[in-house]
């Protein structure tokens, strides 16, 4: 697996040598650092000050306060924790379920392929938000429920990407070679096919992170996300909308960070796929056969 790591670093160098993905990475790093350092910095998203509710920007509260007099900046930073953690968990969950499904379906084919892909089709037939709402209705409102709901909507994508990758690798000589040595299916799949299919899966993980953040915010905006008082961007947008007349600046910060975060993940995802597909360098006909 060390080679997977090394080639990953090579790809990363090529991705982040371009300005837009580099800026996106810097923004995400800043956001993550703020989220991590929020407690040591003494930010408290829960301390209420009912005297100073729904204030506009001031020295103590650069982005104003909410309906309970809590600092909007602190809440937005803690919201990043919620958003990023839910997104990471959801994407990991989706990959953990979807990738094995795709690997098995693509590698063995036959009835396994038929059954697994019909399940995937079924999941795709339901709109993601509907699926998530239905799940939360069953599981109740909690961070775990939001995570599972968002994660399940990502499963079909991973299953399809992994399956396509296996299908293209399945007949390659180096896979046939391992089988010719007498390797078991499990060995072939885990040791030969999987390490060679990580790159599109990784791209999907980054791209789906932005989808997950958006979906989590949407659930919170609809009032079925993570229950209060845990700060969340979607929740802040929802309350901000209610107090639009009293405090027009309420929703500005959560809106900006949400948009930027989604944009950042998307930019990196697109740059990754460009690099992995070899579209980043302009080279015409090869000079000679590869050495």
């Amino acid at each position: 697996m060390t080679e997977a790591l090394r080639s990953g670093l090579r790809v990363a160098r090529r991705v982040f040598s371009r300005p837009a993905p580099a800026a996106a990475l810097a923004y995400l790093a800043l956001l993550a650092a703020a989220a991590l350092l929020a407690v040591p910095l003494g930010l408290d998203p829960l301390s209420q000050d009912l005297v100073r509710m729904l204030e506009g920007p001031s020295r103590e509260h650069p982005f104003g306060t909410d309906e309970l007099g809590r600092d909007i900046l602190a809440r937005a930073i803690f919201g990043a924790r919620t958003s990023l953690m839910t997104a990471a968990g959801a994407v990991s969950l989706a990959a953990a379920i979807g990738v094995p499904m795709g690997l098995v379906a693509g590698f063995f084919g036959g009835w396994r392929d038929a059954v697994l892909m019909r399940v995937v089709d079924l999941m795709l037939a339901l709109p993601g938000i509907m699926l998530a709402l239905a799940l939360i209705a069953v599981l109740g409102r909690s961070q775990a429920a939001a995570l599972v709901a968002v994660g399940l909507t990502g499963v079909p994508t991973f299953a399809r990407v992994a399956r396509a990758q296996v299908l293209s690798l399945r007949r390659r000589d180096f896979v046939v070679a391992v089988e010719a040595f007498g390797a078991s299916s499990g060995y072939t799949l885990m040791r030969t096919v999987l390490p060679n299919s990580w790159s599109p899966i990784l791209t999907q993980m980054v791209v789906l992170s932005s989808v997950a953040i958006l979906l989590e915010a949407a659930l919170a905006f609809l009032g079925v996300g993570i229950p209060p008082p845990t700060p969340s961007w979607g929740e802040m947008l929802r309350t901000g909308k209610e107090y639009l007349h009293e405090s027009p600046t309420y929703a500005v910060l959560p809106g900006i960070v949400l948009t930027l975060t989604i944009l950042a993940f998307d930019t990196i995802g697109r740059a990754l796929s460009t690099v992995l597909e070899g579209r980043d360098t302009l080279i015409g006909r090869p000079v000679a056969d590869p050495p």
Binding site: E3, A4, A180, G182, S184, R285, V287, A288
Partner: protein, 685 residues
């Protein structure tokens, strides 16, 4: 003498990419006159294709070209795109290597081959259809009326290449550039296409630049030869002279290293080392690290040798060209006595009886079997311990499927496979695993058969780990021994496959196949994708390993020269069946099946004198669709001896009277003096 059609002076081409600039061509001078075929020979990375593309003005944006290229009196370097476009339509025709990618799959062939002329306003659209038919007829395509309205996928490979040639020659260009025009084609089809290029060239009087890695092809059609190495021309001369008296050590070594169909056995004399990559050329003479003549003299390392005249109409780029005195004819050490190695009387290690592999083609809503591709249809083989059986045939004849079926990688549909006295077809998984230790497979393409994510040391150890035998077989020491056996240093074991050249990767593939100490190696075209100078190294390695380890080989190949060199016995396959099998010497001396005779006659030998004297049998048509093979003898539609009986009755595979060879033919027999009498040469309809 009229001025040359193409005149190149001090051409350099440098590519700028993400890394350091790559000098692909470094000072090339050459002239091509009307009515002349110039063969440019070189290995991959020698700059031969780049030179030709520069002449056609087809290099990509990131190539920097300097020097002068005069085509029909006009300068190409730095010319305006409009002029280049006009010249490409009128003065230059280009034939690329792969006919399946040169044609647009969405346009009928007839329209494509006249498209250029219509676009240049030399042909009225209303006249295009007739012109297309005439062009297709001029390249010997049967039934041109109907073929002109067909699409490329309805054409076979050879027919597509004919159509591309028709397209290249449509505008009566003064220069035709053919870049490896027959490399993607089978031997019998290659003979047809070379014949066509030579004939059309004579008819139109065009100048032809033929780029190839195959010395035999050059000997067959070229008048003059330029040998390229490391981005420069190292030797030029007439085809007869170059093959008889090479003046550059590289040319001489190349001629000595290639296995030849007209040579007796003996050991090949390979060129050591690897061809240089254009980005890492050694200083001074780029051939110096591999040269036997320079002998490490300082001058070779310090000074790039200029291309200088060494004899009338001859030039060589070597400081010590006068010292190259090696006879080009293959004088080789006597063949080693192989009695010790071969035990033909021992019980067969591998016995295949009536093997059949059928692939069903399913179609329709109910996935019913509509047709069956009989990839292998009744093949019987025997290999004794320590013996090499060569399995030859054109692409699509089923030779690779046979090898994979023996390995258990493809399900068999009938027949039996016995290995070491044990029936192995249809064995359950666990039992097959044990058999696989004894039998290993070496793939054709060393680039694709190694896992790109695994270091080569891990790749070689992988079969041991799969079988849980890593420690039992000696662990790291055994891996080091394996690297040593295939001529690689074990210090490279922690590198990745992409850091190796093709020949080195093939060595790694062989080391990996040997890791479990097998008794039989199935070698599927092990040298086909390697450069000429590397092929000899691998062939020698395989021969050494066989002698040392007592291995038996099933050597699958399409190259009859290589097969002749390595095999003890040879089986010739055609459309899923073996048509002739015998001891190597007898089969090559007295082939009795008409297909074998045609195959052998179609192999171009790197010897201009012999090429002129050889009788060639050029077969009609191409390999039929294996899903709908002809009735009776599969070969009868292309056979020069076919009779009515052949169309109805499949011939039995039996011993030919008076010979040890087996054949499947109603009219088998040695070639009569004077060649096949039934039809004249080149009787392609």
């Amino acid at each position: 003498m009229p001025p040359p059609v193409l005149s190149i002076r001090s051409l350099t081409v440098t590519f700028f990419g993400s890394g350091a600039p790559v000098p692909a061509v470094r000072g090339v001078d050459l002239d091509v006159h009307a009515g002349e075929v110039l063969g440019i020979v070189g290995e991959s990375g020698s700059g031969k294709s780049v030179t030709a593309l520069a002449a056609a003005g087809l290099l990509p944006q990131n190539a920097q070209v300097s020097g002068s290229i005069m085509l029909a009196g006009r300068e190409i370097v730095g010319a305006a795109p409009a002029l280049l476009r006009r010249m490409r339509g009128q003065e230059i025709g280009v034939v690329f290597q792969d006919p399946s990618t040169t044609l647009n799959p969405l346009l009928p062939v007839g329209r494509q081959i006249t498209e250029g002329e219509v676009a240049h306003g030399r042909l009225r659209p209303s006249e295009a259809p007739q012109r297309a038919v005439a062009l297709l007829r001029s390249v010997d395509i049967a039934d041109p009326q109907n073929r002109a309205v067909q699409y490329p996928h309805q054409f076979s490979g050879g027919m597509r290449q004919r159509a591309v040639i028709a397209m290249a020659m449509a505008g009566q260009p003064r220069l035709i550039i053919a870049d490896e025009p027959t490399t993607a084609l089978d031997v019998t089809v290659q003979a047809q296409v070379l014949d066509l290029i030579a004939r059309r060239q004579r008819e139109t009087g065009a100048a032809v630049v033929l780029i190839t890695h195959d010395l035999g092809v050059v000997a067959e059609v070229a008048h003059r030869v330029a040998v390229m190495y490391g981005g420069r021309i190292v030797e030029t001369g007439s085809v007869r002279e170059i093959f008889a008296r090479p003046h550059h050590p590289y040319t001489a070594a190349l001629l000595r290293s290639a296995p030849r169909i007209d040579a007796a056995g003996g050991r090949l004399d390979p060129i050591p080392g690897q061809p240089p990559t254009p980005s890492e050329l050694p200083p001074g003479c780029s051939f110096r690290p591999r040269c036997a003549v320079g002998g490490g003299r300082d001058r070779c390392a310090a000074e790039v040798p200029p291309l200088r005249p060494v004899a009338p109409d001859r030039a060589a780029a070597c400081h010590f060209a006068e010292e190259v005195r090696v006879a080009a004819s293959p004088v080789r050490s006597a063949p080693l006595p192989d009695t010790a190695r071969r035990r033909p009387d021992a019980p067969a290690l591998l016995a295949v009886e009536n093997l059949a592999v059928h692939f069903p083609i399913r179609a329709g809503l109910l996935r019913r079997v509509v047709r069956t591709v009989r990839a292998v249809d009744g093949v019987s083989l025997r290999i004794a311990p320590g013996e090499t059986l060569g399995l030859v045939g054109e692409s699509g004849c089923g030779k690779t499927t046979t090898g994979r079926a023996i390995m258990g990688l493809v399900l068999t549909s009938g027949g039996s496979i016995t290995f070491d006295g044990q029936r192995i077809d249809g064995l359950p998984r666990g039992a097959m695993r044990a058999v696989r230790r004894q039998m290993q497979y070496v793939f054709q393409d060393p680039f694709s058969s190694l896992n790109p994510m695994l270091t080569v040391g891990d790749a070689v150890a992988e079969p041991l780990r799969i079988h849980g035998l890593f420690d039992e077989m000696g662990g790291a020491r055994w891996i080091a021994t394996l690297f040593d056996m295939v001529g690689l240093s074990v210090s490279v074991a922690n590198r990745l496959p992409r850091e190796f050249s093709g020949g080195q990767k093939q060595r790694i593939g062989i080391a990996r196949a040997l890791a479990l100490r097998p008794k039989l190696l199935i070698l599927d075209e092990p040298v086909a994708s390697l450069d000429v100078s590397i092929q000899a190294q691998i062939v020698n390695l395989l021969e050494d390993l066989q002698r040392e380890l007592g291995l038996a080989y099933l050597f699958i190949a399409h190259d009859l020269s290589v097969v002749k060199h390595v095999s003890d016995r040879v089986a010739v396959m055609y459309l899923g069946r073996i048509v002739e099998e015998g001891e190597k010497a007898e089969l090559y001396r007295t082939p009795v099946h008409p297909y074998t005779q045609a195959l052998l006659s179609a192999v171009p030998a790197p010897d201009a004198t012999a090429a002129g004297m050889r009788r060639r049998i050029i077969l009609e048509g191409e390999l039929p669709d294996p899903a709908a093979p002809p009735a009776g003898c599969h070969f009868h539609p292309r056979c020069f001896r076919a009779s009515d009986r052949c169309a109805t009755e499949a011939p039995r595979f039996e011993r030919h009277p008076g010979l040890a060879s087996f054949r499947a033919c109603h009219h088998a027999g040695p070639l009569a003096a004077g060649g096949p009498s039934a039809r004249p040469e080149a009787a392609v309809p």
